[in-house]
Symmetry: C2
Subunit: 576 residues, 2 copies
């Protein structure tokens, strides 16, 4: 195969002495035991010394329900802090947020490093970087190119996924070949006609891959994941039954599916309008790069849809995850300037809720029904959405094609990894050759024998809330959790600065605990208990730490007995 | 049919003049547009005056995710407050918590009313009443009985569901027959061999039912819901592959399925132990009443399981919804006294997560995998659980059998009701004869023409948090929501009592907002802004309401600009 010959791997390292101490370490800063927040570090160590780092992906994650108020989670890159001079570059596998979305937050902390991605991937990442006016730019590469990232030679194998231009990476290193098989499925009839490059993948396999990292999210589903094509069939059926406006919502990165929807709309004589910033931007970029094609006059401006009869409208609307600020949520709640739901309208959800969003999506569907729309979603209508991730069949095909010595499932939770292991064992792999590192565990490959756990990196969730990156830490979060479920009680104790005497009755204020106006008795008794706790030392507070503990304990015990709740108690001393 | 003849309906009302102004009103205090919290009020009005009330069911609901800290939700019975002397009794349809669980909280507010339910239903409800030492008792009735609840004659039609002894109610009233068709499916091979009483149901149909209220939860699923039997087939397969302990978890009310599990365990030579208070209590009661049968020696005490080899253990464990305090959660987290997960153990989830619990269940599965267990749940293994609710096929059969004039879907959300409407229209019903009242809307039937909306009852969520019933209201909840996502900032302003002068610098304390120790600058500037806001009136606070607003606004604006967050700001004046 051509791509392989082009690489002059040996020459790159002709100066290397190869004492046998060379190694590659893989450090997942995110994405291990985790579906999102993907970020993998490949380290080349020469004679035991760290020499070069390549990063693959830099995605965002979604907060767990108990991370109250947190908007996003990003990978913890503290590990890289004192290694910036070793980073040779970053390669993106595809243009989904959980692979590119972290870069605007993290780019500045990595140094001015070069970045690469296939054409659409680079374009989507650059939209994000431009939004924050970053200096960083992702360089687009062709699938035929092989790039050199320090000692790593990286080739791009096209794979089908729910965004065009997705790639798996074939990474040649001084100690062997790694296959970075992030999100993929084998769609044999993809919408853009571009198949997974099975030739290149098997060619990599023939050069004996040392380790394959591979998308394991679909390991619980038997068979092959269906093709994107079937979405079109279902969509056409829905459209032909619609006697009003037609609203279509899907992920804004799924350019091919949006193109498909547009083609079907045109066939049925409807005009198309886009609603939502991300859909606007992504389609604009995709058209510019030639990934979407439609007659200009097919599209009308959002404010002009009202001039058309409902049966001529096809609205592509952002908000398939029920995001409260999205165009679809605003439409459902009569809060949109140009669109209002009427009896006879149809809303089609061509996306499944991401775990954690079920409730928001459910509420949105409920609201649309109430406004009189006919709503279709995967619970009642199969094939409105198909996964971009391969199922067991796809995974077995990939594993057979690459045939690595070791395989490491990624991009799934522990249960997906364990299911993948079961699958790989059915294909003849030894249990020990299926690598399931715990979070933060660093695997070191020397090319000889099994990889070992070289070290364990402590990783935290870096949480983004509003404008703050990482300033919501575990202390803040724990307080939020307590207050959210139990409420807060603030006890203000005025103390004379000079003498340390308590000068007046303590004041008790609560929020989120109990409706205070109707709880006068509880309040009064609470004050008495605080006063008692303070009076232990005859009106003078000597050891404030001790007093604080007393107040917390005594008041806490009292409130628990009376109400069954344990609010956060915050004693405050005010010097007067 | 016998049950019908026995009723002497006409005689009961021989004194009634029947001016044509008689009516029946149906008031759903819970369960309309809602899956849980079922409570229906049937009112008989004679000559326009309210004369008698019968209640059907009194269930709990589960809090929405945004109801932070709330344990349970119960129906709002304020509507009944001044009508207690008219309540003739309460009838339970079946023994699930969303139909009986509210009674311990509500019984005292209804007056000392009589209550009925079929044998197991009454037993389960009485367990709950005994737990709080209530005076109330539910009287068990046979399926062959017809009871008189004021002017209402109530017959019980057996239906299959996921708890034995479930009934639909045939309610004869002075103006016509109502069919209260709560949760059911048509299981033609039920585990206890007791089929839905299709004869009685069709007999009711022959007496021309005025309105059928009917379980619509499964209206999105085509076909018939499968029989409970298939759970056994899957379970047997799982057990035969297990080389360690076998843990089985399901709803504790699903007595028949627990019986099935026990039989399979015995067949494979394993001994059974129960873990969890609700499973203990329910099985004890079920055995006593003859609903479960197994040799006494098959059961061992929880503390004795360690004496058996793993392959002889079959543990029936509570906690299928991932409840943090349940036996299964404690086992998964190595916090159980007698059971520890080991490599080779199998855990089978024979229950689907209730919407809202997906995250907790997912975490529990994850944790069990990490401990080395093989975990089976419906995502990877079909037929480990089947729904207790009928699908479209079951619903069509019921609608055809009863053939009511009007039909009102219940026990589902709006989308389920709309799906049901579609279904009923396919069976020839006019759109207007399928009643979809909004929450709180009261339908009045006179026997002539379509029912009208007689009034609208304002209903609130009555929330239970700890020991408090209803003391967490909307104010408390709104504060919790704000604090949970944005944090709280308390501003303490010491003021001299006599003069109204601010005596010292204001103090700012925050929780859940930002890590204050690392935000000295923000804090200092915040204090300056508060001081400035207060100094407007030259150190004397005249209008505290106005000052409070100033502080809230100015500090709020500043913090939003700096952090992108809007914490709850609580100014507190402390008089010294």
């Amino acid at each position: 195969m051509k791509f392989w010959k082009k690489q002059k791997h040996k020459q790159v390292f002709e100066g290397a002495s190869h004492t046998g101490k060379d190694s590659i370490r893989i450090i997942p800063l995110g994405g291990a035991g985790n579906v999102t927040k993907n970020m993998y570090v490949y380290e080349y160590r020469y004679d035991g010394m760290l020499r070069d780092i390549m990063i693959v992906d830099c995605g965002i994650g979604f907060p767990e329900p108990e991370m109250y108020g947190v908007d996003l989670v990003i990978p913890d890159v503290r590990y890289l802090a004192n290694k910036r001079d070793k980073i040779r570059g970053l390669v993106f596998t595809h243009g989904h947020d959980d692979h590119i979305g972290g870069i605007p937050y993290i780019y500045d902390r990595l140094g001015n490093i070069p970045m690469w991605g296939t054409k659409l991937t680079a374009a989507f990442a650059n939209i994000k970087l431009r939004e924050i006016k970053s200096r960083g730019t992702v360089t687009p590469v062709e699938f035929s190119e092989t790039i050199k990232v320090g000692p790593f030679l990286v080739s791009f194998a096209r794979v089908t996924h729910s965004v065009p231009d997705a790639a798996n990476l074939i990474i040649q290193t001084p100690i062997g070949v790694f296959y970075h098989g992030s999100d993929f499925k084998f769609d044999f009839t993809p919408l853009d006609g571009k198949l997974s490059d099975l030739g290149k993948i098997t060619e990599a396999g023939r050069h004996s891959v040392l380790c394959m990292l591979t998308d394991c999210l679909g390991s619980e589903r038997p068979g092959f994941t269906p093709s994107e094509q079937i979405v079109g069939v279902t969509l056409e059926k829905e459209l032909s039954q619609c006697s009003g406006k037609f609203l279509f919502t899907t992920q804004s990165s799924n350019i091919s599916r949006i193109q498909l929807a547009i083609e079907i709309a045109l066939k049925h004589g409807r005009k198309i309008a886009f609603f939502g910033r991300s859909i606007d931007k992504n389609t604009e970029e995709a058209v510019k790069l030639g990934y979407m094609r439609f007659p200009r006059e097919a599209i009308i401006l959002d404010r002009d849809v009202r001039r058309l009869p409902p049966t001529k409208q096809f609205l592509i609307v952002a908000g398939s995850q029920g995001q409260p600020e999205s165009a679809l949520s605003r439409i459902a709640n009569d809060g949109h300037k140009f669109v209002r739901i009427e009896e006879g309208d149809t809303v089609v959800f061509s996306a499944d809720p991401i775990p954690g969003n079920e409730h928001n999506v459910g509420n949105l569907i409920e609201q649309l029904y109430r406004k009189g729309a006919r709503v279709s979603y995967s619970d009642i209508m199969e094939d409105l959405h198909v996964s971009g991730h391969g199922s067991q069949g796809d995974q077995m095909l990939m594993l057979s094609a690459v045939g690595p010595k070791f395989v490491m499932p990624m991009g799934g939770t522990y249960r997906h990894m364990m299911q993948y292991r079961r699958l790989a064992m059915e294909l003849g792999y030894e249990k020990q050759d299926i690598l399931i590192p715990e979070e933060g565990e660093v695997l070191e490959f020397t090319g000889q024998g099994r990889p070992r756990i070289a070290e364990t990196v402590a990783l935290e969730n870096v949480m983004i809330d509003g404008l703050g990156i990482g300033d919501v830490g575990n202390v803040v979060l724990r307080d939020r959790q307590t207050i959210a479920t139990e409420g807060i009680v603030v006890v203000v104790v005025p103390v004379e600065q000079s003498t340390g005497r308590v000068t007046a009755e303590p004041e008790i204020i609560s929020r989120g605990f109990i409706y205070m106006k109707e709880s006068g008795g509880l309040l009064k008794e609470g004050k008495r208990i605080v006063s008692q706790s303070l009076r232990l030392k005859k009106g003078r507070i000597i050891d404030w730490q001790f007093m604080r503990k007393q107040v917390e304990e005594n008041l806490g015990r009292f409130l628990l007995t009376e109400t069954g709740r344990s609010p956060l108690i915050v004693p405050v001393i005010v010097e007067v």
